[in-house]
């Protein structure tokens, strides 16, 4: 076949000048040195990795090298890196980027990461990979620098967006890419419009709830790889779809996605020690919790404003402050609240005012005092976060807050304060992603999220490569509340904590299970009685267990097939 051919003609023009002017000529020694080095830098094969030879500040692990090799050789530089949390996706991405840079195939690079991770990425790329990455600060930088790290929220905004769209990127890397699952978001649309040759999407949780999520991710990377959207839904969304198609989908996805599991890396991992801490409400707290039910009566189907009884109940398990904030918003949004609603709210607020202590916070304090080491507390609610900070301070314990909304610099600073000065870091959900806190090995889940993947993200902050000690996880749950039910289902029946995330997301997508959160809402909100709730929960658990056995059978069958093919 005939191949396009380009010869560098710039050299000969100058040669003629020098020939006519009798110089200047270079030194033989330098001439030889140039040739020697050029020969060393020649890339002799299309296959294999050059990058490791060039790196001394990082010792990639076998699974990371293998991943990098596969992405370059087999996936044409377009891949979803979906290792479980803490296996070093950043290192893999760095290796791949470095490889393309050494081979001269990548120069202009855009790296989009959560704001809290910008400086960490910049530091790692520079120190470990000698890649001159810079954090974006001014809008002229998009054009002037070849390798820019930025948050997607900044990048998608004017005037940045327009400048970025004019750039031709050789490689785009997106960290925490599971946020790009919804094609109707500005972020998704923004990424879709980027001009990119090679692309890496990093996420520990490629599928959280629905199989469509993987479709949208893959379509960013390689549109059409999973067909068109209508086609895809026709084939895979059906409730009664065949296992065969499942297998087909898996194969297709595996062509663009690499997922290393902890168990397969052969690395020694420290243990997760999980402890459930059950807490009794005080009398006043119990009264507030029970009082919330009157809202259902006060306003039939009042979830119109985006609030639900369930939300309030979960908040009540966290702190009275969280409930209070939500109630206030409820009244505000209702504009003209019915007298019944107003009356109900007033009644609840009375109950709130009667509460003197937060039983969970007391327990947390006791625990922190006995641990005498760094502790992370996760809560879903900002009001609780603020309260806890105040509460701990009252008891002489230093703490720093952490939220997704913090600016980059502030996040770095808070992390540093925690590492060097404070005993406790109190993070909200949004702050869970993207900070590495290996130096800490105690975690309190002050309240529990619905979505098990979110929990894995939390745990992954401390239980990752580099963690040298066993990690202690304390799950707080209040007895005889919705929280205890969640705990039972999610965290005890399916042993979420001890097992690794990969298993669970497989389990959930194995059946066309629908959104777990929807099921839970149904259980907790639409049940008329405690008994009904229990039965529904039982069903849900069985469904998960069923999916699990199904998967196990498949795996056994796979293993059997492999064995026969070997013999």
């Amino acid at each position: 076949m005939e191949v396009n051919y380009e010869f560098d003609h710039s050299w000969e023009t100058e040669l003629m000048d020098r020939y006519e002017n009798d110089g200047p000529w270079g030194k033989w020694e330098l001439y030889q040195l140039a040739v020697e080095m050029e020969k060393r830098l020649v890339i002799p094969e299309f296959e294999g990795l050059q990058a490791p030879k060039h790196l001394v500040n990082v010792n990639p692990l076998p699974h990371q090298l293998e991943t990098a090799r596969q992405v370059v050789e087999k996936m044409n530089g377009k891949a979803i890196l979906a290792d479980e949390v803490g296996l070093g996706k950043t290192i893999e991405a760095g290796l791949i980027l470095k490889e393309y840079m050494i081979r001269g195939l990548a120069k202009k690079v855009l790296i989009l990461v959560p704001a809290s991770l910008v400086s960490q990425w910049v530091a790692e790329l520079n120190q470990k990979f000698h890649i001159p990455a810079v954090g974006q600060k001014k809008s002229y930088m998009w054009e002037q620098y070849d390798c820019i790290v930025s948050s997607i929220d900044t990048a998608k905004r004017s005037p940045h967006r327009d400048i970025i769209y004019k750039q031709q990127y050789d490689m785009v890397i997106i960290d925490e890419a599971h946020k790009l699952k919804n094609p109707n978001t500005k972020n998704y649309e923004f990424v879709q419009g980027l001009k990119k040759k090679f692309c890496l999407l990093l996420t520990a949780t490629p599928i959280q709830n629905r199989v469509e999520e993987i479709f949208h991710l893959v379509s960013l990377l390689k549109p059409g790889h999973l067909g068109s959207e209508t086609n895809f839904s026709k084939k895979y969304k059906k409730r009664d779809r065949h296992v065969k198609e499942d297998e087909h989908l898996k194969q297709l996805v595996n062509k663009v996605m690499i997922r290393n599991r902890r168990i397969n890396t052969g690395l020694e991992w420290t243990k997760r020690r999980v402890e459930t801490v059950l807490i009794d409400f005080s009398k006043e707290e119990r009264e507030m919790y029970d009082a919330l039910k009157i809202l259902r009566i006060a306003h039939d189907g009042y979830s119109y404003a985006g609030f639900s009884l369930l939300t309030l109940q979960r908040e009540a398990c966290s702190s009275r402050e969280a409930v209070f904030v939500t109630l206030k918003n409820l009244l505000k949004k209702a504009e003209q609240p019915s007298p019944a609603l107003e009356e109900a709210v007033t009644k609840i607020i009375k109950k709130i005012e009667a509460i003197k202590t937060n039983s969970k916070a007391e327990k947390a304090l006791e625990l922190i005092q006995s641990i005498q080491d760094k502790v992370i507390i996760f809560t879903e609610y900002r009001a609780t976060q603020l309260y806890l900070q105040w509460f701990l301070k009252q008891n002489g314990i230093t703490s720093v807050p952490f939220r997704g909304g913090f600016k980059r610099g502030k996040k770095d600073w808070m992390r540093q304060l925690f590492e060097n000065h404070a005993q406790v870091l109190i993070a909200t959900e949004a702050g869970g992603e993207g900070i590495n806190l290996q130096f800490c090995h105690h975690m309190i889940n002050f309240d529990l999220p619905w979505n098990p993947m979110r929990l894995e993200q939390r745990i992954g902050r401390v239980h990752r490569l580099g963690q040298e000690k066993d990690v202690h996880i304390y799950n707080f749950a209040t007895k005889k509340t919705v929280e205890e039910h969640i705990l039972q289902l999610l965290y005890e029946k399916i042993h979420l904590f001890e097992r690794v995330i990969g298993e669970l997301d497989d389990i959930l997508t194995c059946l066309e299970f629908g959104k777990l959160e929807d099921h839970l809402l149904d259980v907790f909100q639409n049940s008329q009685s405690e008994g009904e709730m229990k039965i529904k929960m039982e069903n849900l658990t069985q469904m998960i267990e069923f999916a699990e056995t199904l998967r196990k059978q498949e795996e056994d069958a796979d293993a059997a097939r492999r064995n026969t093919s070997i013999s």
Partner: protein, 263 residues
């Protein structure tokens, strides 16, 4: 590249540039840079332009490099150099930039009076095969400027000769019949013809991968009546990713006057 080799490489580089070694121990060295090298390596253009404007006395820096932490004394502070480090890459680029063009004579002591030296043009080339993957081939080609004979691996031949920048006593050079410019053209044609004879399976495979992705892309948008902008963006990106091409870069080269008419 072994650390030992890097140490030697640095020694040769700084020596060739006329720098002096303040210290040169096992695993480390401190080098007094020349003005030229300070400008090339130390990245302080403001200092140099300030100096030129004020006419001050230039004070080029001295730098300490550590080529082997194990061997160097612990008290020594300096820049660690290893294969792939930005500093070594910069030094390499500098060597390349300082020696892109050369003219040398073979250092012979003729028995009889007035020995002829034959002019050769040498080019060191890096040929890159690029698609979504890449590999390179290094080639060194020489062309006799009298009768157009070509020689491969020319650099290896040159390295076995004694070469000198000044024409040796009792030697004279033959004037080229083929001008360097057309010699370059001949070498280019020679390389091109060689490449045309190759089968280029790599390119065929890349085109297959390209076509596969194009098919997928069309499939993705098949339900849409009007193709959105992202279709064209994606299509162009695939072209840039996969389209096979060969680029030939001239690493360096020049004129060599050798005693042989043929090699």
């Amino acid at each position: 590249m072994l650390q030992e080799e890097i140490h030697q490489y640095l020694e040769r580089f700084f020596e060739a540039n006329g720098c002096t070694f303040i210290e040169n121990g096992p695993g480390w060295m401190t080098v007094q840079l020349t003005v030229e090298l300070d400008k090339a390596l130390m990245n302080r253009p403001f200092y140099w332009s300030y100096l030129e404007k004020t006419g001050g006395i230039p004070n080029p820096m001295s730098v300490t490099f550590i080529t082997d932490k194990e061997k160097a004394p612990e008290s020594i502070k300096g820049e660690a150099i290893h294969f792939g480090s930005p500093r070594l890459n910069q030094i390499f680029r500098t060597a390349k930039q300082f020696a892109r063009y050369i003219r040398l004579y073979e250092d012979i002591k003729p028995q009889q009076k007035q020995a002829p030296l034959y002019p050769w043009l040498s080019m060191n080339l890096k040929i890159s095969y690029r698609c979504d993957l890449k590999k390179d081939v290094f080639r060194s080609i020489g062309l006799n400027l009298i009768h157009g004979t070509l020689a491969e691996n020319f650099q290896d031949i040159l390295e076995q000769r004694n070469l000198t920048p000044k024409i040796p006593d009792n030697c004279f050079t033959l004037t080229p019949i083929i001008m360097p410019k057309s010699a370059v053209r001949r070498i280019e044609n020679y390389v091109r013809q060689g490449l045309a004879k190759e089968t280029h399976e790599w390119a065929e495979e890349a085109v297959i991968r390209w076509q596969q992705d194009l098919n997928l892309l069309d499939h993705f948008y098949e339900d849409m009546e009007e193709l959105p902008e992202s279709y064209e963006i994606e299509k162009q990106a695939l072209k840039e990713q996969y389209e096979p091409k060969i680029t030939v870069e001239v690493v360096n080269g020049g004129l060599f006057y050798l005693k042989d008419a043929l090699i």
